[in-house]
Subunit: 299 residues, 2 copies
């Protein structure tokens, strides 16, 4: 196994800057009454967030030498989906959150109706970005990206996991239940980030097992780290309210395993995630660094 | 110009049945806590609605001899988008409607959070249906369909029109403003139905002018008819609350033109829509019949 020694900070700064610049260009504010909608979308996608998923896409594309500009377009699409899901999850009828990424949530800064529409708009935009520009050479990969993202974010993926999470306020899941919920709610989209690299790298579906293993283990470890931050972190660092799961009486990895076992489990999963990459050389160093960052971060 | 004499009733019945059957097969209810989400989606898409947009897709595909099964898949996708937009538009923070298609709206039959997720899920599903199955032969057309649907339903299309409609509660539009609003809110998606036929029929973009003209005129006439039904129709026929625009003090074609001039304008637009089809033979009869139905319907 190649040991990665790179720090993630420069890569995170670079992807954050690239996303901000591209969203700024993508969303010029029109001079009519749709301006409010575009301003709400900009509020949600510019200036904030760890940009973990976009960085994962870029890292997965690095494995196969994909052109950086193409990788960034897919990264932009996945961030659109992630941000739309945050806007909708934060709504009063869902998790009812006032703060996100250190700023007021979209329905607080604007209003609920605008927040619904801003989420819907980013959702549509994600698929447009994935499919554009359609050329004979690229069309098959683009159609595959659309199918995979729709599945990962739809009712059998992220939205299904969010439904399970809503039901969790009335139904106490066991460890298997929480694992399943999180594999859908956050894991499916993280899985797409890696799958996107494989699709663009034209890796046959039956040779994607290591990447899927990495994504599965990383996703769960990432969520355990989130649960730990919800218990031990501060709103100042995370940019959102903490202690919410416990207050809602929801089962989490931490409530089921306790802090220490949860931390051990996350570390084990990350070792396992990195082990899946053993047949890759230094082209996988960024993925290894992301895996370590996933459980060492304080936000 | 070929005069169509076909009645639309059999075609509407057939497309309604085809959509119901396909949605039933597409949305089996899973045996876990996502069941609630799938039941909400089924509530929204099965058994109801005029299925005007699916019929338009089928009629547009008829022009170019497209395989019926392929046409119905695209029709299913557009109906997913239409239904997702109805679910979200009906939310308390948006138009706050209790009845839709003669049934309780999704947030009434289930709850608001489930309604948000059911809409999001149908939205994702639409793009999955459009892109599947991705094959070398079809991929370019599928990518183009995705791009067009995303644009028609996103912030520069339907969602943008809905934003303009929300602002309309504070800002009184003139006729140009209402026309622009409706061209986005309902026209863009109707435009996609025709564009889809052209894309699948591999009609070059510069030869789509007649279809775009038909769609533009039909869309406006359809909306004027809707405004007339809001004033003159009954909840029993339309399956939804009527008189809402007037109560909200919103400018509509009817409030701006009066009932008589609005009716005349709709008839003129339909004549114009049909005139755009003059170079087509009886393969365009269904499109002609749909145009007439758009302003003669009582629901």
């Amino acid at each position: 196994m190649v040991q990665a020694s790179i720090s993630l900070k420069p890569a995170l700064d670079a992807i954050g800057k690239a996303m901000d610049q591209r969203f700024d260009r993508l969303l010029p504010v029109p001079e009519d009454s749709r301006a409010r909608l575009f301003n709400a979308m900009r509020h949600a996608v510019i200036g904030g967030g760890k940009r973990m998923r976009p960085l994962l896409v870029v890292a997965a594309c690095d494995l196969f030498g994909i052109d950086r500009d193409k990788a960034l377009r897919v990264a932009l699409a996945i961030e659109c989906v992630h941000c739309y899901s945050l806007i909708h999850d934060d709504l009063p009828c869902m998790d009812d959150d006032d703060m996100r990424r250190g700023k007021p949530t979209v329905h607080k800064a604007f209003d609920e109706a605008t927040a619904v529409l801003a989420g819907d708009s980013l959702h549509a935009l994600a698929f447009q970005i994935l499919a554009e520009p359609a050329t004979h050479d690229d069309a098959l990969a683009r159609a595959e990206l659309v199918i995979e993202l729709a599945e990962a974010s739809g009712p059998v993926g992220m939205a299904g996991g969010q439904m399970m999470d809503l039901v969790a306020e009335h139904e106490l899941y066991d460890l298997a239940g929480v694992t399943r919920l999180q594999q859908l709610k956050t894991g499916a989209l993280i899985g797409f980030c890696l799958e996107a690299g494989a699709i663009m790298g034209r890796v046959p579906a039956d040779q994607r097992t290591p990447l899927r293993g990495y994504a599965r283990d990383l996703g769960l470890a990432f969520q355990i780290a989130d649960d730990l931050l919800d218990v031990e972190g501060s709103a100042a660092n995370t940019g959102k309210a903490v202690g919410k799961d416990e207050a809602a009486g929801k089962a989490t990895f931490v409530s089921l395993l306790g802090v220490e076992r949860a931390r051990t489990q996350a570390t084990m999963l990350i070792d396992q995630a990195i082990a899946h990459l053993q047949h890759f050389g230094q082209e996988a160093d960024l993925l290894r660094a992301i895996a370590r960052f996933a459980i060492e971060r304080d936000r």
